[in-house]
Assembly symmetry: C2
Homo-oligomer: 345 residues x 2
């Protein structure tokens, strides 16, 4: 039998009560620490709660899995890990392999840093978009950069997990992660990240010395966030209860603000440029067709489509908005071209 047990986010005290019983009855308890380190004091408590064998395992041993599966065929084996067991996809794969090998499995879920962290910051979990991981290698930052962009334009918050390498005892510093994102901005130029972007750094969530510090990147650059683990959250649209909670539950160096206001969808950027332009072109051409009845319908249609484009944008139908303003522009420019004027597109 193979038990997948989550330790939760606060060390031994966050372990689900059911798991205490499982630990005391297990023949072997494997503890993995590759998703997050576990403190020495908690390690001692876990060891004391186990009656059988106790072993710490490395990432490769869980990925390889053969020893664990072999033991689980005959004995009660526990794989204990930080947080919730199945946030690490390695654990899901090991469970699937166990079931295929006819080994019974049982899962004990526990608090995850992902859900806990968002609540501790006072942010709304249902506004979280896709999660991304930031590694120290610069080249790998393009993916999280676009995850942030796509989340922000939809008003979603982005959780950025920071590289942790157990073997090298390496934690990516939040300041280095932010520096990497600013560098990526220079190359990608979508105006997603700049020194004024509002960012939350959540440190040691679930522990006594937990800290939630937020502010513009320029302000955070001067901060010492203390010991790891850290996570970065880039908020999207902020409900006023979220801004209030950020201030009450954490330390805000700057007044929280909506990052999504500054990051505009390409469609919005286009509409802001084209609507006044087409309107102006239309006004310019109208006198040329004053008394020509058969062209009036074209002018009327152009007017109508400019108006529709604005309405579609308001309704969130961005693609139809762009199509409409493009169409209006085409109608107007045909009239201009027929009179030998330059087109406006």
């Amino acid at each position: 039998m193979l038990f997948f047990v989550g330790l939760g986010i606060s060390g031994f005290k966050s372990i689900p009560s059911e798991a205490l019983d499982v630990l005391s009855k297990a023949d072997i308890v494997y503890l993995e620490q590759f998703t997050s380190p576990i403190k020495r004091l908690d390690l001692t408590k876990i060891r004391n709660a186990t009656k059988g064998e106790f072993r710490t395992v490395k990432r490769w041993q869980v990925e390889d899995g053969r020893e664990i599966l072999k033991k689980a065929k005959k004995k009660k084996v526990v794989l204990l890990s930080y947080g919730d067991p199945y946030i690490a996809t390695t654990h899901i794969e090991l469970r699937a392999r166990a079931i295929e090998e006819k080994i019974k499995t049982h899962s004990i879920h526990a608090s995850s840093s992902l859900t806990s962290m968002i609540g501790e910051c006072g942010l709304h979990f249902y506004k979280i978009g896709r999660i991304a991981t930031i590694m120290s290698e610069m080249k790998s930052l393009t993916t999280p950069y676009y995850v942030i962009y796509k989340n922000i334009v939809e008003g979603n918050h982005t959780i950025l997990l920071l590289e942790y390498n157990q073997d090298k005892d390496f934690f990516l510093d939040p300041k280095d992660a932010l520096r990497g994102l600013l560098e990526t901005e220079k190359g990608q130029k979508r105006s997603v990240i700049n020194l004024s972007t509002y960012v939350v750094v959540a440190s040691r969530i679930g522990f006594k010395d937990q800290a939630i510090i937020s502010g513009k990147i320029s302000s955070l650059n001067k901060k010492d966030f203390g010991k790891p683990p850290h996570t970065i959250i880039i908020p999207g649209r902020l409900h006023f209860t979220e801004s209030d909670a950020l201030k009450i539950l954490g330390e805000c160096i700057d007044e929280p603000f909506d990052n999504s206001e500054k990051v505009k969808k390409i469609s919005k950027q286009m509409m802001e440029r084209y609507v006044p332009m087409v309107r102006e072109a239309l006004e310019e051409i109208e006198p040329y067709y004053m008394d020509q009845k058969k062209y009036q319908v074209i002018l009327e249609n152009a007017e109508l489509y400019i108006h529709d484009a604005e309405k579609f944008l308001e309704d969130g139908q961005e693609e139809v908005a762009i199509l409409s303003i493009g169409y209006a522009d085409g109608l107007v420019d045909a009239l201009r071209l027929a009179k030998g004027l330059d087109p406006k597109m």
Copy 2:
């Protein structure tokens, strides 16, 4: 002092060990059940674990919060809830109010159905996009419909929470939710949801009779999912380990497949419709302007912009592609309108 304590997803046995101590020392324990109901047996166990007063509270009492805050000023008060305490934004707001009123707070996080469910289904949590809720009122389905659309085109999975009303003991049935989405599709026509969409229904996650059933909507329509609570997951792009896990960890009526292959971005859908349409309209109008030199430049421009639109789409510049095809359409339709023909837009 006010404690926010999560019960976890499996009833009393999923409560974090730290919470047992807190419950036994509390003067008053308030239990809310508006996010998910709690079984009678678990209720008894909770009651037995508390030494002080025990009260169940309704949603409005937590939202109002005055009684809880008043008691917490002088006594050790616990607000106990299903899952993790801060998934419900009501609890975050109450905590912020408590801190403002100088009441000390302490949070005990626990397993959340959001993270647990995804792991139980064998899906990767980092691929979860924004979460949506489905209510029984048809009008409200447009929002989740577009959340699904946006997630799928990015390859993300969508968690759909289903309406639960404690006062009416009402749980939205997953089949009704899917029916609502199919109805919404008829109105919105983005080709997001159809009878062949691959869907996962996760039922009673964390309990002994947990069930994970997946398949095309047409297959799920014939299924009985048993007692609530249920959640729907619409997968986006599936990694092969996710498809494998879905089959091993749950019941797949149909072979899992990638919904994102069939759901096209709105921009792509538009281009597929408009490019041939504008081309046809252009061919139709050309003979009318055969020998009129001043209109040749308009025809040439239309041809050019249709071509550019296709190139922009290939380059991933969807917005510019739509603008270009709209413009070409406008040029052509101006010529049509001038000849008294119907426009093609």
